[in-house]
């Protein structure tokens, strides 16, 4: 009996170090006698680096071709084929990722999170279209963006959106841009990518919500030209701003505008604006000037009010972050225990929080601080957007001809061939108008 106990003791002494070292390996790997060689797990490589640079090269080349087609060739047909190529390459081949629409998030995430180094390709995708737009208008939207190309394809019968609705919905992209950058800057997530309704079509898979939203956008896109670009796309908002300062712009007519309004009907995106009537009486714009002055005075108030409202939004917005949401659920669980199913993600994450509550709560508190500042800025941004929109609506345009609105024009080149003077230039119509023999 004693001998057996001693034997067990010796065995235990021998096993103890083994247990301490191989805490994970409950069953030691066998020594094979049959000459069996251990396979190693396969690690299929990711897409090689030079292909990613090739993508960026194709992107830059497509931008250059788009500019050439708009300004030199003035060719809608060429732009159409270019946009089909972009749809095939950046859309269906590259599955819509990485696209310029989401790339500002990478940039902002990189600016606020030093651990993340923004890839060079993301920088190119983000900055190149903006730089091009500063000189040549929204050539990216016209010929390179796969989302725009897809919406252009489904456009059947464009109806005119009332100007008031167009201008009112026009602030949505900027608000979405602000929300996306807040989420990216705090490190919560890339919401612009998550709620891109057209990318699921490129991937041919996606969640119910986003597929429904995408289908709704495409259905609406049959009658409203490019609804996503005009009323939601945050990058479109950025390019709209850049386009306001562009050096060159799309000109409908090669020389003289006859004010025939044909171009106005040819634009499916409501970008064509009629000439602002020349002021005959210098005293008449006084009320307009007064309104402008009031709006300029209102702008700081709007920003302050927005910032205040935004700071109130912070606790709710912080819930978007999974870490904060977990911390709150953990705190709730302490006071009002709820039962979650065994091995469900909810229960598992609560277990993780319970194992180390200090770390989870501390990181949540840090994230809440980030959100405090971000929501403050976000609210101010919304105030600024609304204020500037109101001011922009009150500024006289000084147009003498039918011209595309600088910001709204996506440079799709549809209006070129609608202009009778352009048709004369191209030799499609006889010169001289009525005097020509019929």
């Amino acid at each position: 009996m004693f001998r057996r106990l001693k034997w067990i003791g010796v065995l235990g002494m021998m096993l103890l170090p083994a247990l301490m070292i191989c805490a994970e390996q409950r069953f030691p790997p066998p020594d094979f006698e049959s000459g069996y060689s251990l396979p190693s797990p396969s690690t299929p490589p990711t897409r090689c680096l030079w292909l990613q640079y090739a993508d960026a090269g194709v992107f830059l080349a497509a931008l250059a071709v788009a500019v050439w087609l708009i300004y030199k060739k003035r060719s809608r047909r060429g732009l159409f084929w270019l946009s089909l190529f972009s749809l095939a390459y950046f859309g269906f081949y590259r599955k819509g990722c990485l696209c310029p629409i989401g790339s500002p998030q990478n940039v902002v995430y990189g600016l606020f999170n030093p651990d993340y180094a923004v890839p060079v390709t993301a920088l190119i995708f983000c900055f190149a279209p903006i730089a091009v737009t500063l000189f040549a208008g929204r050539a990216f939207c016209a010929g390179v963006c796969p989302q725009g190309a897809l919406q252009d394809l489904v456009l059947v019968k464009p109806v005119a959106v009332p100007l008031w609705l167009e201008e009112a919905l026009g602030v949505v992209p900027f608000i979405f841009l602000g929300a996306g950058l807040v989420c990216a800057g705090t490190g919560t997530g890339f919401v612009i990518c998550r709620y891109d309704p057209l990318v699921p079509f490129f991937r041919l898979s996606g969640g119910t919500f986003i597929l429904t939203a995408g289908a709704a956008f495409l259905l609406a896109g049959m009658f409203v030209g490019r609804p996503y670009c005009r009323f939601l796309c945050p990058y479109g908002g950025l390019l709209r701003l850049a386009s306001l300062a562009s050096k060159w712009r799309v000109r409908v007519t090669p020389d003289v505008c006859t004010q025939c309004r044909l171009c106005e009907q040819s634009c499916p995106f409501g970008a064509m604006r009629e000439p602002a009537p020349a002021e005959s009486n210098p005293a008449s714009p006084a009320p307009e000037r007064k309104r402008l002055a009031w709006l300029l005075a209102l702008l700081p108030l709007l920003i302050i009010a927005g910032a205040w409202a935004g700071s109130k939004l912070s606790p709710a917005a912080a819930q978007l972050d999974p870490g904060v949401a977990l911390a709150e659920r953990y705190a709730r669980q302490q006071s009002h225990p709820a039962r979650y199913g065994l091995m469900t993600p909810e229960a598992l994450s609560l277990d993780r929080a319970a194992a180390n509550p200090g770390a989870v709560l501390a990181s949540a508190a840090d994230m809440r601080h980030r959100f405090d500042l971000a929501c403050w800025l976000f609210g101010g941004w919304i105030g600024l957007v609304i204020g500037v929109k109101l001011i922009a609506l009150s500024v006289r345009s000084g147009r003498t001809d039918y011209e595309p609105d600088r910001g709204a024009c996506v440079a799709c080149a549809r209006c070129f061939t609608a202009c009778p003077n352009e048709r004369v230039r191209l030799g499609l119509a006889p010169a001289g108008g009525e005097s020509a023999p019929s």
């Binding site: 994970e24 990722c97 923004v118 900055f127 898979s205 300062a245 020389d255 003289v256 870490g323 994450s349």
Partner: protein, 190 residues
């Protein structure tokens, strides 16, 4: 009417504002791009899941944007005990230690069990069949050596800017890793 102004026409206020805005934006873009490019990486980042943090919840099978998740089970053979009764392969109380379907834990029959020598069996994953549900990972980690674990397979991954699984991962096991080292494999020297 639409004639261009002569070249020596004075700069209008609008033109001045426009030029100024363009100059400022270009400067801003240049500064931002330069600052970011200075500490930028030539390569990209890819998503990967850390097996040390994975809680085997099953989200990977359902949350990926792909119909067939890009996350698959991977087997670290060097960690494996080559058990006859593999708790990653067999249901908790198998009627028989055979590869009959009712004994298998894997819902898609993606684990192949082959005899090596008495009493050892090799278990390998058929990636075409694996759906990334982590049932075997849970079984292996709870009772065995933990040689089965989940990894994003980069030949399947679409490299979304934000991984859809990462957002819902209860263990926050997903993170961006440099493309030079795209896998976080389990080894014996843990």
């Amino acid at each position: 009417m639409n004639a261009k102004p002569p070249a020596d026409a004075p700069v209008t206020r609008r033109q001045f504002l426009r030029d100024g805005a363009r100059l400022m934006t270009m400067t801003g873009l240049g500064v931002a791009a330069g600052a970011l490019a200075a500490r930028s990486t030539s390569g990209a980042w890819v998503w990967q899941t850390d097996p040390a943090k994975c809680l085997h919840c099953g989200n990977c099978a359902t949350q990926c944007v792909l119909e067939q998740s890009a996350v698959k089970c991977v087997h670290a053979y060097a960690v494996c005990g080559y058990c006859q009764l593999c708790t990653g392969f067999f249901t908790p109380e198998p009627g028989d230690l055979t590869t009959a379907a009712e004994n298998q834990l894997c819902p898609s029959g993606a684990i192949k069990r082959t005899y090596v020598e008495d009493p050892y069996y090799q278990y390998s994953i058929d990636e075409e069949l694996c759906i990334g549900c982590a049932k075997c990972v849970e079984g292996c980690n709870r009772f065995g050596n933990g040689s089965l674990f989940l990894q994003i397979r980069h030949d399947r991954c679409l490299h979304c800017n934000e991984c859809a699984i990462a957002r819902t991962c209860p263990g926050q096991a997903f993170r961006r890793v440099p493309v030079e080292h795209p896998y976080l494999l389990k080894t014996t020297s843990r």
